[in-house]
């Protein structure tokens, strides 16, 4: 069995982005890291089914998401942790250090407090560079829903930013 050394190294360099995407799904850092680890092992285990036309990052994102909805999420719900507010997660609270720590922390709390799926679609499109069509395919939802979710995510964040007293962080 090949050891996939080069693939593993590439996955290691992708870890910060995979962890960030996982947090947008799980809402808490501990579940996110478990999910990332399982997903990476799955990527390695299914390397020969990877279509090179799809970047490793997107292939790994897809596997990670499928895993979250097919297995990890069920397990988390079973053991009772479920969807935890990321603002309650010590690692997320400590994610940002330095002078802009408070603002970043508040924003992370606000992102985590968005309705499920909103932070994910915002991350994919606004940060990871997915087109609406690519995001729709990745999420298995119509393109119009992508458009409306992103708008509503921004709208909710804009409301919260204009009312700083309501900060979730």
């Amino acid at each position: 069995m090949p050891d996939h050394t080069a693939l593993r190294k590439d996955l290691v360099t992708l870890l910060p982005r995979l962890r960030r995407y996982a947090v947008s799904l799980t809402g808490n850092a501990a579940d996110a890291d478990d999910l990332v680890q399982d997903a990476c092992l799955r990527v390695i285990g299914s390397a020969d089914r990877w279509d090179a036309a799809m970047g490793l990052d997107r292939w790994a994102f897809r596997i990670l998401r499928n895993l979250w909805f097919s297995e990890t999420r069920k397990r988390s719900v079973r053991i009772g942790s479920g969807h935890v507010d990321a603002a309650e997660s010590p690692e997320l609270r400590d994610a940002a250090t330095g002078e802009d720590a408070l603002a970043a922390r508040q924003l992370l709390g606000r992102l985590a407090a968005l309705p499920e799926g909103f932070a994910e679609v915002l991350l994919l499109v606004a940060v990871e560079g997915y087109s609406y069509g690519e995001a729709a395919e990745h999420l298995g939802i119509p393109q119009g829903t992508v458009m409306s979710r992103i708008y509503r995510a921004r709208r909710l964040l804009a409301d919260q930013i204009s009312q700083p007293g309501e900060a979730a962080g």
Partner: protein, 257 residues
């Protein structure tokens, strides 16, 4: 057309067809209320990006990096009957991957791919660490350069290697701080330096009973170049980006420190 918030948000993403985008822009120019809404959405978008960027700065847990880097893949992680084996796809994706890595902020890591990989030893483990830590922005080090004296005491005690932090400023490197790692089951001291372009060079050391070496021997670690040498009671490795021209001179300066 009636311009909605969804249109404004999609305009921000460049997701509208050209004719629709032009119509929305015209409406924006004519309507102060729409402009205010667009600014609000833009502000929210900027804030969200900043928050997501902060998430990227979190240090990657070493256990996770090591599992992904080296742990055996359980059978359950390779499900189902496999289709006939083709050429491993990852051999062919260097270009796409390079783009992805540049996007991740790992600029100088982008050249990694299918380079020869040495047998696993402490040097290879250091390379794994370097792949993780050199990509860090704010969390490059555990203890910052401001506490240089503490770093010398702390890492000397932990590793059993008495050392001085080399001043490599003549080679254009500024000392950023240090970390304690574990490789081959031993504590390893890691001193991090950065050059003017933000590239990271690390000097690592661990206690060793091996005899001193005459000079520094180069090691090809794929995406990184390294030089390894030994002095009485210790082994050192200097590791930096692939093709980093000053590495031999820096190693010389470090050995003399």
């Amino acid at each position: 057309m009636r311009v909605t918030g969804e249109h404004l948000s999609a305009l921000l993403d460049g997701a509208l067809p050209p004719a629709e985008a032009a119509a929305v822009e015209a409406a924006l120019a004519a309507d102060a209320g729409l402009r205010a809404e667009y600014e609000a959405l833009l502000g929210a978008d900027r804030a969200a990006r900043d928050a997501f960027a902060a998430l990227l700065d979190r240090p990657v847990p070493l256990g996770l990096a090591r599992t992904v880097g080296t742990a055996p893949v359980p059978q359950s992680a390779a499900p189902g009957p496999r289709p006939p084996r083709r050429a491993p796809a990852w051999l062919n994706i260097a270009a796409g991957l390079a783009l992805a890595l540049v996007g991740a902020g790992g600029g100088f890591l982008a050249g990694r791919g299918t380079a020869p990989v040495p047998a696993r030893d402490w040097v290879a483990e250091i390379a794994d660490y370097h792949a993780v830590y050199a990509a860090q922005g704010r969390h490059l080090v555990e203890v910052g350069a401001a506490e240089a004296a503490h770093i010398e005491t702390w890492l000397s005690e932990q590793t059993g290697v008495v050392f001085r932090i080399p001043d490599l400023s003549a080679s254009g490197l500024s000392f950023e701080g240090g970390r304690l790692l574990v490789a081959a089951g031993k504590p390893v001291g890691q001193l991090m330096y950065r050059d003017g372009a933000g590239r990271v060079v690390a000097l690592c050391f661990l206690a060793s009973a091996l005899p001193p070496t005459e000079g520094a021997a180069p090691r090809d670690l794929g995406a990184f170049d390294a030089l390894v040498w030994g002095r009485e009671g210790a082994r050192f490795i200097l590791i930096g980006p692939e093709g980093y021209p000053a590495l031999p001179a820096i190693a010389e300066a470090a050995r003399e420190a």
